[in-house]
């Protein structure tokens, strides 16, 4: 009895220490850096804080420190911090190949092998985080490219609205029929001709052209192929020979404001621009991108911001938990309901009925299809080598008035290939 009393007393005496030990339980702090987009900044900011608080509630002992930066200069901010050894644990941004190649990104492949979160992602979205067979990014959202058209301009021209299954030639003929330069009405907006048209537009894969091979190291035989030359000619002609495109000063490739001017018949857009169009008084509809010809299928163009983990993070497991949460169904639903991002997988789209929405279903039908890896995500040297070479072609055609496209593309191919070869040969063996 006496012994039992002593044990009980000792246990009571231990309670304060146990409490103190519980209070001293280490808290893991995850630094999550993000950018705000150009519009709806307040709503976007609020969503980030909601997501962080929801994650913390589900993961006691982990806190999320959010830093929201302007999109402009964000890459500089991240890379400076990484160079100083103080990078964020988690951040999101566009394309990864160059940063992945520098070893700054944690390979998420082992984490994904232990998780089923990626089973809910669109294949087209997941593909954007893969570089040389390894997954470095997880999709924050998923958008597809398609064509918005101004119903009033179509009605005034007496043209039927475009329908899924149309071809690039029908697109061009429609643009010609819509254009009325005397009244400053343009068939298409934001097609400046050239590199953007071939690389990140709904036309990218539907003009039958590939600029590089699969691993992005070779452009010879691709960029100067007859298909690529004709694709480039198609894009450039919209500007110069057909004169159906808005002046370059008005155009951004996905510039919804150009379309919202009411002077543009058709505009390439994505889900990122749809909220602005919905809020405007433009009477518009949307349609799938045109396909190459009657025999071809439409090849979707999709895009996503990607979550990355810094390879130097001290809290990789917790960082992965955050990425897993943010790319999972709960966070995706919150973002979709807030109207900030389109979900990265089909389940939430279907749950919210977006797959049957007259506008959003056009995008959904693109996203569920398989697509190709964009040329610019295939090589870390693409933007140093291929992009400027194509830019030279555009400049020579539009500003220089040259029309020998075969020679120009051959010049550009040689320039790009030399640059790629130099870039890869300078890498350590085995890279």
């Amino acid at each position: 009895m006496k012994k039992a009393f002593v044990v009980v007393v000792m246990l009571f005496l231990l309670i304060p220490f146990l409490g103190a030990a519980a209070q001293d339980q280490p808290v893991t702090i995850i630094n999550w850096w993000a950018t705000e987009r150009g519009r709806d900044t307040a709503a976007t900011r609020e969503l980030h804080f909601q997501l962080a608080r929801a994650f913390e509630a589900a993961n006691p002992g982990t806190q999320v420190a959010i830093s929201l930066y302007p999109s402009r200069g964000f890459a500089t901010r991240v890379l400076t911090a990484i160079a100083a050894g103080e990078g964020p644990d988690v951040w999101y941004h566009y394309y990864a190949p160059d940063i992945a190649a520098q070893g700054f990104l944690e390979d998420l492949t082992p984490y994904l092998e232990q998780s089923d979160v990626d089973e809910g992602w669109f294949e087209s979205a997941a593909r954007r985080g893969v570089y040389q067979g390894q997954t470095y990014g997880a999709p924050r959202d998923a958008v597809a490219g398609f064509i918005a058209y101004n119903k009033d301009i179509f009605d005034a021209a007496g043209l039927p609205y475009p329908e899924d299954g149309w071809t690039v030639d029908e697109f061009r003929q429609t643009a010609l029929a819509l254009t009325d330069l005397d009244n400053e009405v343009y068939g298409v907006g934001g097609i400046e001709g050239g590199e953007g048209c071939l690389m990140w537009s709904p036309f990218s894969f539907n003009l039958g052209a590939e600029l590089t091979n699969e691993d992005g190291r070779t452009v010879a035989g691709y960029m100067d192929s007859p298909e690529s030359i004709e694709a480039m000619r198609w894009c450039l002609n919209l500007v110069t020979e057909d004169q159906v495109s808005t002046p370059a000063s008005m155009g951004e490739q996905f510039g919804e404001q150009t379309f919202m001017s009411g002077d543009v018949g058709m505009q390439t857009v994505s889900d990122w621009e749809i909220p602005a169009l919905m809020a405007s008084d433009i009477n518009f509809g949307v349609v799938a991108p045109p396909r190459l010809d009657e025999e071809a299928e439409v090849i979707p163009w999709a895009d996503s911001y990607m979550y990355y983990m810094w390879s130097g993070s001290d809290n990789k497991d917790a960082a992965w938990k955050l990425i897993e949460y943010l790319t999972g169904s709960e966070a995706q639903r919150m973002a979709a309901e807030a109207g900030v991002w389109a979900p990265n997988g089909p389940a939430i789209w279907e749950e919210l009925g977006w797959n049957e929405d007259p506008i959003k279903s056009v995008s959904y039908n693109q996203l569920v299809n398989s697509t190709l890896t964009p040329n610019y995500l295939r090589s870390q040297f693409f933007f140093d080598c291929v992009y400027p070479a194509l830019g030279d072609v555009r400049t020579r055609w539009i500003e220089g008035g040259e029309r020998d496209l075969e020679t120009m593309m051959a010049d550009a191919t040689a320039q790009a290939q030399t640059c790629l070869d130099d870039g890869y040969s300078a890498l350590p063996a085995g890279s």
Binding site: T41, R45, S67, S71, T76, A84, E252, S261
Partner: protein
């Protein structure tokens, strides 16, 4: 027909004014475009033909700027940084410039050359080392990296003020020394008052530099509540989704303080530049 000298003078005047008006229009046009866009709806922004006078005018753009981002906070933060930087630059620049301009000591030319050579180093080269330094000091996400360096003086401003101080006759110093003044008293009572136009340039250059600085606040600040005006305005810009109306409305409001400073300091400023140009 031979023109009289008066007619020639009149024609010259007319041509001169016409040229000035044409140049003024070219210079004012971007400002007008900013004002017009600030008053447009998104639909009006890229309308063809352009709407020179927006109809209707979207005055709500100005209030929406404050709703979308804590714009008032950004202005206050920037004003604090501007004030601290001006104090720092005035303190350091005047003392160092005085030393280089009026004092004789071994190695003065070498030190001056060394200081000038720092002007040749691009800021981006020192970006990461500076970040590491301030990070080790625990200054990241504070205003310290954004104003403490001002207390070491800017090389360019030191050079400019030193050149100005060298144009002040040494007789004045000597007269003060004869009257029993110390070096610091000469600095405070003789050189500084006579250097006022150059100091006004220091104020204006520092004000505009800090007001417009985007890179340093971006690099050193994490907490949006500490952000400055240039960072705040960038929230309306995205790679593919720029909110031009709010960006222009915010930019218009952000350009008012530098404009006011210029108007108030105009006489001193032009005096400083002209004297600097003549004697520097």
């Amino acid at each position: 027909m031979r023109l009289t000298p008066k007619q020639v003078e009149t024609i010259e005047k007319v041509l001169g004014y016409a040229t000035l008006i044409a140049v003024a229009v070219v210079l004012v046009l971007p400002l007008y475009w900013m004002l017009a866009t600030a008053l447009k709806t998104p639909e009006q922004t890229f309308a063809l033909p352009p709407e020179w006078i927006p109809n209707p005018m979207a005055w709500e753009n100005f209030t929406q700027v404050f709703e979308e981002v804590p714009f008032g906070r950004f202005i206050l933060n920037t004003v604090i940084l501007v004030a601290l930087n001006i104090i720092g630059e005035l303190f350091a620049v005047t003392l160092v410039a005085y030393g280089f301009a009026r004092l004789r000591f071994p190695g003065r030319s070498l030190l001056f050359l060394l200081m000038l050579s720092t002007l040749m180093i691009p800021y981006h080269v020192t970006l990461v080392p500076r970040f590491i330094l301030f990070s080790r000091l625990g200054w990241v996400n504070t205003y310290l990296p954004l104003f403490v360096p001002a207390f070491t003086g800017s090389s360019f401003l030191i050079f400019m003020v030193r050149q100005y101080m060298m144009s002040i006759p040494f007789d004045l110093d000597e007269a003060a020394y004869i009257d029993g003044a110390s070096r610091l008293q000469v600095f405070w009572h003789v050189i500084l008052p006579l250097s006022r136009p150059a100091l006004m340039l220091v104020v204006v250059f520092t004000f505009v530099g800090v007001w417009n600085d985007f890179l340093q606040p971006l690099i050193y600040l994490n907490d949006p509540n500490l952000f400055t005006i240039s960072l705040g305005l960038s929230f309306f810009q995205d790679v593919r989704d720029t909110n031009w109306n709010l960006l222009m409305a915010g930019s218009l409001m952000a350009s008012i303080p530098p404009l006011l400073l210029f108007f108030f300091a105009q006489r001193q400023l032009i005096g400083g530049i002209s004297i600097e140009g003549l004697k520097g």
